[in-house]
Amino acid sequence: MENTRATRVIDPETGSNYDVAHEKSPVFYDTYERKADLRHQTHYCPGCGHGIVHKLIAEGIEELGIKDKTIFVSPVGCSVFAYYYFDVGNVQAAHGRASAAATAVKRACPDKVVLSYQGDGDLAAIGTAEIIHAANRGEKIAVFFVNNGIYGMTGGQMAPTTLVGQKSTTTPWGRHPAGEGFPLHMSELLSTLEAPTYIERVALCDNKNIMRARRAVRHALELQRDNAGFSFVEILSPCPTIWGKDPVEARAWVSDGMIPVFPLALFRDRKPEMPVVPEPPQRPVADVLELTTSRDAAEPQKSLAADHHSFSHIGIKIAGFGGQGVLLLGQLLTEMGMREHLEVSWLPSYGPEMRSGSAHCHVCLSKERVGSPLVSAPDVLVAMNEISLHKFAREVVPGGLILYNGSNLPEGFDDSEVHVVCIPAGEIADVVGSPKAANIVMLGALLEATECLNSETAMQVLEAKVKKVQLLEIDRKALTAGRDYIDHQVGAVSQPDGFA
């Protein structure tokens, strides 16, 4: 086995470089077969912090014995190819989205160890929202945040963590806070959140600090092994290539340039307190989806032969103010039609317009498959207010029926081509117990006037929908009152043409 190889080591005291042969962690592949060439060395530049962080993570995984249960989510940045090296499950995510992807990987595999590895452009610029929200949800993932103050992969543009005055290819005169803001402190920012369990900032500036980083990485991994919560390790890391320094100078710059701006600290190491909230009940799928026949399921009307209806198709439009129960009235009719073995559809006006303004819906009752669910030429219009009457009356087919909620038609309304019946539904509803039942009064009137559906079915549907006994009683009275009004006050209504 190819488990040993030479690594370039820099002596922090003397600054001299030398190669050592050492045991490579078995969490790394023996050879990097996913690379195109040079399969015995990494693609990182000499002195790059990524290589050190990789090593610390690999050793931590090895020590904890979690190699087989670890999933590593890699970012876009110089470490995009982390999967060349780690012999664990690998998922490569889009730029900035590693912590979002890791969130869902973890939720799909709740007993596994999920790591998100991200650079400062990836995590602190394009992926700011994703990291803040993953942290705020306390996702049980470990995030390793490699802060090198620059965009390495794309050749040295400014990062959110670039220091004030630091030159980059997009801040050629140095980062100016007036235009580019100040360096973003991610560890401090995340420390304002309740949910994270562990947040620490470490630096790869010398051996002592590398040992500290090693402990931090290991602690973050332990927390994952124990499923203990969100861990975040920010690692100040050298990028000699872009910084234009040799590896030794680069390490010195981490301590001299970066640490004063990004102080090393343990920001958080405790489990968040979780309040007790109710857990969702666990139920069989068929029950949850209401696929089992329940007490008030849509038991079809057995007494009615499928072909008892005298029409082949009726289109009904119901319109009024939001809050008048216009949509519900349509739903009741639709449900009734379904129970009477008809093909039916209900199409609402939808969205915010319904909050205060007008609402309307289209109902089709048909013996055949319903084509257009849009009722552009209604056989029946139920107009719950004057505005709707004016708006939709002219759509009604010649010879059609309009049921208008009011005592009289508005002045000058032309009813020469349609039958119009005025029903003071609001007043009738008031008498039976609630002004809100005006829609049910209209339902009663509609059933009596058109005989399109059976009023027994209406009661069945109401019984299934209305859970409160008192309200159901009011609805029953409202339904009867609507029918009686047509029967006694209006007399025979000439039925809409075509389905009488």
């Binding site: 889009a94 989205r97 969130t103 969205g351 915010p352």
Partner: protein, 374 residues
């Protein structure tokens, strides 16, 4: 058992019957009921629902869950779909199966929440970067919201590719009888997934192919897969096309209006037929060409400025004149409106409106701003 159900809710019921146990999404009208029912159902059956911080996060969560091999979905509408496009490209590149629902609304920009079909191009031709395809299914009824979602999960897994259910505000918001039976979903093995196990440790989910030859080979493989889908997965519905002199073509909610229009036209003695692609990608071009072969005229009707129109013209390839009529902004043409339009060219002499005015449009070049073009 039949239950009266809203399209969006039926869709989620279908998804769960398909074995979907993970939903990541962000609210938007007119798709929100899908997220809301996922939030209600999934936690009760051991599934995962998460309201993400954005559609960008949501689609990348879908990426994560799909990487781990679970059946996962998201649902959104126009503006949210725009935000998801990068993620969809990654999903296609990494060959991750998932279902993306777009309940289309009016655009561009914030537009409005009324129904349009203006995301056809974005979903069928791919709105993200790179060479890829989505499998796209277009339901026209509440029942199909459930059934085509079930199918979408099957096809997504079969082809290891994102599958899109492209609905519109009306199909999502309307209620119709839904008939679903409980069945145990058969979940395919996914040996390629990353699950944090010894067996899957060597697996990698990625869309990177650094070497030009490697990326070309990868894309050739994707292409082969797409060709297979084109061969086997085209679906359509044809209604009264056998003897049709006028063929009406539309998808989703429009096909319902076309169905009624065909009936109305036939009552008036015009031999009309309707062709509805159910799969928008792969597009049922061969079936369409066949259905149109005896027609004198083809009229494409859409709630957009002629996005599918192009595919119809490609399929028919100049054999029959193809006209287009579109309404946008949330307006849906009525049966009466469409009947008049068909009469204007099918039987100009019987048309009570000015036939010359309608004829005039035939001379015009394709002008996207003119809604009736030929």
């Amino acid at each position: 058992m039949r239950q009266l159900c809203k399209g969006n809710i039926a869709l989620m019921k279908g998804a769960i019957l398909a074995g979907c146990r993970a939903f990541y999404g962000y609210p938007i009208t007119p798709a929100s009921e899908i997220a809301e029912s996922a939030a209600l159902y999934l936690p009760q059956i051991g599934g995962t629902f998460l309201q993400a911080e954005s559609e960008v996060a949501a689609i990348n969560m879908v990426y994560g869950a799909a990487s781990a091999g679970v059946r996962v979905m998201t649902a959104s509408s126009g503006p949210g779909i725009s935000l998801m496009q990068e993620g969809i490209s990654y999903l296609a590149g990494a060959e991750l199966p998932c279902v993306i629902v777009d309940v289309m609304r009016g655009g561009p920009g914030l537009g409005n929440i009324a129904p349009e079909q203006s995301d056809y191009t974005a979903m069928v031709k791919g709105g993200g970067h790179g060479n890829y395809r989505n499998i796209v299914l277009a339901p026209a009824s509440v029942q199909e919201m459930a059934e085509l979602t079930l199918l979408a999960f099957e096809l997504a897994d079969k082809y290891r590719n994102p599958a899109v259910v492209l609905a519109d505000g009306f199909v999502g918001q309307m209620m119709e009888p839904l008939e679903l039976e409980y069945r145990n979903a058969e979940l395919p093995e996914k040996p390629w997934a990353v699950k944090g196990t010894v067996e899957t440790r060597r697996n990698l989910i990625s869309s990177i192919y650094l070497e030009p030859d490697g990326l070309e080979e990868h894309q050739r493989r994707l292409e082969a897969k797409y060709i297979r889908a084109q061969e086997f997965e085209c679906r359509h519905e044809a209604y009264c096309t056998q003897d049709a002199e006028v063929l009406l073509v539309g998808f989703g909610i429009v096909s319902r209006v076309l169905l009624s229009t065909v009936e109305a036209l036939r009552r008036d003695g015009v031999r009309a037929g309707m062709f509805r692609p159910i799969t928008l990608w792969p597009y049922p071009s061969r079936a369409l060409a066949k259905a149109a072969s005896k027609a004198q005229n083809v009229l494409v009707v859409e709630l957009n400025n002629g996005q599918m129109f192009e595919d119809v013209r490609l399929a028919i390839n100049g054999e029959v004149p193809v006209k287009f009529f579109g309404r946008v902004g949330g307006n849906v043409p009525s049966v009466e409106e469409l009947k008049e339009i068909v009469m204007s060219f099918a039987h100009p002499s019987r048309n009570r409106f000015d036939a010359t005015a309608a004829h005039h449009t035939e001379e015009k070049a394709i002008d996207p701003y003119s809604m009736l073009v030929s």
